[in-house]
Every structure is written in structure tokens, then in C-alpha cells.
């Protein structure tokens, strides 16, 4: 399906039309849109933003912002990247929209010189913590891409700085704003899937993460291919799994009590340091297991998060819910309704013969009617609204924080070959 950006108003309208207003009302961060809490700024005041890190993800976020920047009165004031080709890519995108933000190679200079309300950080993972802390301490609201930080300590440092400065820190887990997830989570939390026993998730790709270097200049290797080196990234864990452990925590409304895992470099044995093949099991205090695997040498199964309950299953990535017992056929449903209401009437069954070729093959039901949304746009628009209000629901940051902490613990569990639980100092 062709994905078109749909703004918040359309999104809320859609939810209401599809009977999902309950999900809207129950979602704390979306409920905040309709909150009567006093905003620190007018509903239409300009929000001045800068982007720090304009590589592939930073430019992607910029494209989303540009689709609604006029409507939302957002001004892209500045762009920053210490790798000039990436900076030029972002400048070009802005020029196509007749915008001329200032360019910087050093974010510290930028935040000192420019009058900003907020920054969007999409740098390599290992830079997230320092830049975020500097920006928060300068008085800026921060949207930082996931995964939150490279280490446990950095993650906590970012969180603590957010608390100390009282500035917004939102982590880029866009599924938190995706209508499929919002509706599906509401059903899970309402008990529609019964008792959740397992969550299975995977992300499989068949590609090399290694990117070509400019003029084959090896001095750029660690800067361009930072995802392949442990100093900068935990590879599949931080780049992919962090999204899915966040979904698992959200579904279960709790965080794990332990993790164990294993990993290897099975296929892309080209000098990289991060694993290309991982498997982990996270356990929760009620006995639920989150079973995860990821690899980059087979793409048949793609990605999915499967929520396995005693009365149903949800597969979020394909917008599907399956009941363990299919719903009653229409005539049978009428019978059930009649009996409930003390009615004794004809059962309108039959009329169609058995037709072998029209096989009844239960394929589940869609969670929402349309998936014509870009959740990345929705989360950025939400961030803009939060900036105007001067605050964001803490739950959003806690989701990002716990996802990051448990991603890091997963990495340590793999490296040590041990079953780990969360050190007390990281519990928030």
C-alpha cells in the first residue's frame, strides 16, 4: 500500500471512525493532545528546530518534518553534521522546499548561536548521550533516535538529565504512535487475547550493513560503518531489537526480570565486531517469555512481533489479529443473540450450498482498517505538540529508557554467557 502522510487530525478522525476512540482515550500520550492543560506556548506558535546528524536516518526524519512543517508552523533553523556529504544532503532537501537553514559541523557551536526550541538527534548511537545531555542542559527539548544510548550508564545519565532540567526527552520508538499498535495494545490490555504466555519477535534481513567508503578511503571506515563496531553500536540489538523489546514491554505493561542470549558472526565475517546472528530470551515476573532472534543472512521471514495469548494472537507488523476460536457464523451469532434476549425465532442458516472451491480459510482480522499512515511522521508531530506544551507524558520516555536498558543487558548477557537481571541503580 502506498503510504501517505496522514496528520494527527486525520489520524484521530480515522480512529474515531473505526471505533477506536477507546484506544485514543486510553493512550496517555495521545490523550495529552486533547488535554486542557495549559501550554507554555500558543497552539500555533512557531517551533524552532534543528537536526543534529543528517545521515540516512536524519535525512529521513527531515523529509517527514518537511511534509508538515508549514501546516504545523515548524521552522528548521539549523542542520548539523560533522560529515560534510551528509550535511549537504540535508541542505539539498531543504533547498527543494526553498528553505535555507544554517549549517554546522559542531553541535555545540550551533546550540550556542541559534535560538532553538528543540533538536532532533539522529547521530550514531555512541554520540546520543553526550549531545542529548548538552542540549537538555542548554534548555532545549530533545527528540533522540532510538536506541537511547550505547551503555547502561549513558542511558541513565540521559534520563537523569531530563529529570534535572525538566526538558522533554523523547526517544524515537515510532510504534508508540502507530494506530495499529495503539489499537492492538488496547485489545491486549483489555484482555482480548486472554493470558499472554509468549511474545515472539524477529527481524531478519539479508544484506550487508557495510557501506562503501568515499574514494575507498579507509580513514572513514569507523565513521561510516560505525554500526559494525562495538565501540559505537551493539549492532542488531540496538539497531533493530530495541524497537521490538519496547513493543514487548508495552504489551505486557512491565519490564523483564532477566535475559539470556547468544550471538555469533555467522555469515558477514569481514572484520566487523558486532554479531550478525543473535537469539535472546527475556523473562517477566509473571512467567511470560519474550523470545527474540535476528540475523542478516536470510530475509524470508522479515520482521514481526507476535503476541501469543490464550484466546488470540496479534501480529502487529501485518496488522492482524487471530482468535483461537473463530467468531460464530452470522446465523449462529443471531441464534446466540436471540437466546440471550429470550427470543425464539427462525435461524437464517443455509441458502448456500457447500462449494468446495470457496474454501473457508481463517485468515484472521485486520486490527485497523487502514494502515495508510507514517508512524514516524506521527511521532514527530506529537513531539512538536509536546514542545508547545512544554512537557510530554513520562511514559513515552520510560518506554525508550527501559527498551535501551534491556537492550544493553541483552548485549552483556550474550557477551558473558550469563542470565542477567537489572542492576538496582538503573531502575526508575
Amino acid at each position: 500500500m502506498d503510504k501517505k502522510y496522514q496528520n494527527r487530525r486525520d489520524f484521530i478522525k480515522h480512529l474515531a471512525m473505526t471505533g477506536s476512540a477507546v484506544a485514543l482515550a486510553a493512550s496517555p500520550w495521545l490523550g495529552a493532545f486533547g488535554s486542557s492543560a495549559q501550554s507554555v506556548r500558543g497552539a500555533n506558535d512557531m517551533v524552532r528546530m534543528a537536526i543534529i546528524g543528517t545521515g540516512s536516518r536524519g535525512c529521513e526524519l527531515l523529509r517527514h518534518l518537511l511534509t508538515f512543517s508549514v501546516a504545523q508552523n515548524i521552522r528548521i533553523v539549523a542542520l548539523c553534521d560533522n560529515y560534510n556529504p551528509h550535511l549537504l544532503d540535508a541542505v539539498k532537501l531543504c533547498k527543494e522546499k526553498e528553505l535555507n537553514p544554517q549549517s554546522y559541523a559542531d553541535y555545540r557551536v550551533m546550540i550556542e548561536k541559534e535560538q532553538l526550541d528543540a533538536v532532533i538527534i539522529a547521530t550514531p548511537l555512541y554520540c546520543h548521550a553526550q549531545i542529548t545531555v548538552d542540549c537538555l542542559q542548554t534548555g532545549l527539548h530533545v527528540f533522540c533516535e532510538k536506541s537511547m544510548a550505547r551503555t547502561l550508564e549513558q542511558t541513565k545519565w540521559m534520563y537523569d538529565t531530563h529529570i534535572a532540567t525538566n526538558k522533554i526527552l523523547q526517544i524515537g520508538h515510532q510504534r508508540l504512535f502507530n494506530p495499529v499498535y495503539l489499537e492492538g495494545m488496547q485489545r491486549i490490555h483489555d484482555g482480548k487475547l486472554g493470558t499472554i504466555g509468549q511474545i515472539r519477535a524477529y527481524w531478519h534481513r539479508n544484506n550487508n550493513w557495510r557501506r562503501s567508503l568515499p574514494n575507498n578511503d579507509l580513514s572513514y571506515e569507523r565513521q561510516i560503518n560505525w554500526r559494525l563496531y562495538k565501540e559505537y553500536s551493539a549492532g542488531l540489538l540496538t539497531e533493530l531489537m530495541s524497537h521490538q523489546i519496547q513493543v514487548a514491554n508495552w504489551a505486557l505493561q512491565k519490564t523483564p526480570v532477566s535475559v539470556m542470549g547468544t550471538g555469533s558472526i555467522r555469515y558477514w565475517n569481514d572484520g566487523r565486531e558486532v554479531n550478525d546472528n543473535i537469539a535472546l530470551i527475556y523473562s517477566y515476573d509473571d512467567g511470560t517469555q519474550f523470545v527474540y532472534d535476528s540475523m542478516t543472512s536470510n530475509k524470508k521471514y522479515g520482521l514481526e512481533e507476535q503476541i501469543l495469548g490464550s484466546t488470540g494472537t496479534i501480529e502487529f507488523e501485518v496488522n492482524k489479529q487471530y482468535l483461537e476460536t473463530p467468531a460464530a457464523a452470522p446465523g449462529i451469532q443471531q441464534l446466540i443473540n436471540d437466546v440471550e434476549h429470550g427470543i425464539f425465532d427462525k435461524l437464517p442458516i443455509g441458502g448456500a450450498s457447500w462449494v468446495p472451491e470457496t474454501a473457508v480459510n481463517y485468515k484472521g482480522e485486520n486490527i485497523v482498517d487502514s494502515t495508510n499512515y507514517m508512524d514516524t511522521s506521527l511521532q514527530l508531530e506529537a513531539f512538536t505538540q509536546f514542545v508547545r506544551k512544554g512537557s510530554a507524558p513520562e511514559k513515552i520516555l520510560k518506554e525508550g529508557y527501559n527498551a535501551s536498558i534491556w537492550t544493553m543487558l541483552g548485549e552483556i548477557a550474550i557477551e558473558k554467557g550469563e542470565k542477567l537481571s537489572m542492576p538496582k541503580e538503573f531502575i526508575i
Partner: protein
Amino acid sequence: MQLIRNINLYHHSIVAMNSQLDMVFWGDNQLVYNRVYNYALETLQKYELLMSRYNKESELYHLNKNGYVSTVFPGEIVYNTLEMGIEYHRLTQGYFDVTLGNVYQANKNGQPNRVNVDRDLTKRIEIDTMNRSVRFLQKNVSIDLGGIGKGIALNEIGKMIDELSLKNCFLSFGGSSVLTRGRHPHGDFWPFGLSGILDSAYLWELQNHSLSVSSSKSSDKKIAHIVNPHTYHPIQIDKSAVVQCNNAIDAEVLSTTLIASPAHLHADILQNFNIEKYLVI
């Protein structure tokens, strides 16, 4: 499972055999109803595996693939079902035929007459009752037990229900094959109406019964899916047939037969069966 507490109504569905079985019980035997559900699930899965024409693991698939090139010794259930199908062919004057699977398949593509197979059943298949073996005498013979499978499954589940002395239930297999016991919670019988027809003249009062409905056209009216086994022509006239009796297989076979056969033969055919009520409109 759906349990309506004030009158203890129990509903469960199973998707199997290209259809959906809905089971409704009422009373105070929830654990026993679960037992019937589990038995029904096992039964349907068993028949699906044995009788599917498309599943390469099924016994019927093996028979259809090898029946012309060698003598095949099917397992007990498939053999008995095939023998039953041949007997129904006799009782219905040839208007119910399980050996024309390829003709039925070709009809889906609008070309049933393209299948070159003899009109005479005895020239198509040979069954050795002593050795319980089957041999196809012509290349294009193919067995299709679809027109009988739901009835067999319903009868088997019905036997379990009777063994457990359950009094009140309504089982609907795909909305076209029904098996009932006892009565509706608010009446003396299970009232059954042909979908789309409100006339009270077409009220069927089901107690310990089986009922089957067939129509000449698929529900979207596009496919004439019942073929006259004597001419290999699909029945193009809009017709529906309902048969009520105490045997789900008879009901299923006859509802199809009454569509496929000309009206002047209906009385002759029906005298071979013990039916309670029928309707062709």
C-alpha cells in the same frame, strides 16, 4: 468459546475441511461440551487429512494419483467412504457421483465437458470388495468426497453427543449441513429458516434431526457448481433444495441430488431413503 451465563449457552467454532463448524449447546455440562468440542476437532482434522483432494499427504490424494497406474489399497475410512459413495450412486440413479472429481474441477473453469471420461460408472472404476482395493479404469477418474465428507463428520460427532447423553445442541457445518438434538432454550424445537425466505411456510422444526441445504449457484450467483453426472452439464437454473432426515450423510447427498436430477425422478429416488421432509424451490 462463548459462554452466556444466564442460560448456560455454549458456543465453539472449528475451521476445518474448507468450512466452519459452529457448535451450540445449552445446559449445565460445560466440561462435557468441551469434550465434544475436542472430539469434533480431532474428527475434522482426521477427515481433512484423509479426504482432501489437494493435500499431498492425504490418502485420497495418493489414491487419485496412483489409482490408474496401479491397484490401490486405501485405509479403512477412505475405502468405506468410497464404497458408500458408490452405493449412493446406485440409490440416486447416478445423480450423486463421487468419481467425477476431474469433471467437477473442470466445471470451475467452465469446461466440464472437456474431461474425457466414460458416462458409465462401471467403466470408470473397479472396486474389489474381497481385497478392499480400488483401481481406476480410465485415466481421468478422480475421487471427490467433498459432497459427503461433512455429513460423515456430523454423523460421527452426533454419535458422540448421543453417547454422552447430551440433550440439546445445534451444529451447523458451513451453514449448509445441520445436526440438531433436543430443542432451542426458548421453544420446543430448533427453528430453521432458509436464508432470504421469510415465509413461515418454510419453517423447519428440527429436534433430533439432520438437515442439508444445497443451491445450484454459489452464493454470489456466478458459479453453477453442481453438475449433472449423466450429462456433465452444470445446473444453470436457480434451484435450492432442503432435506430433513435423521442421517446427515443422506441429507447431504440428497440435497445435492435433488438439484442435479430432474424433478420427475425425485419421488423415485427419495423412496430409497427414510426422509422426513424435503423442499425444492
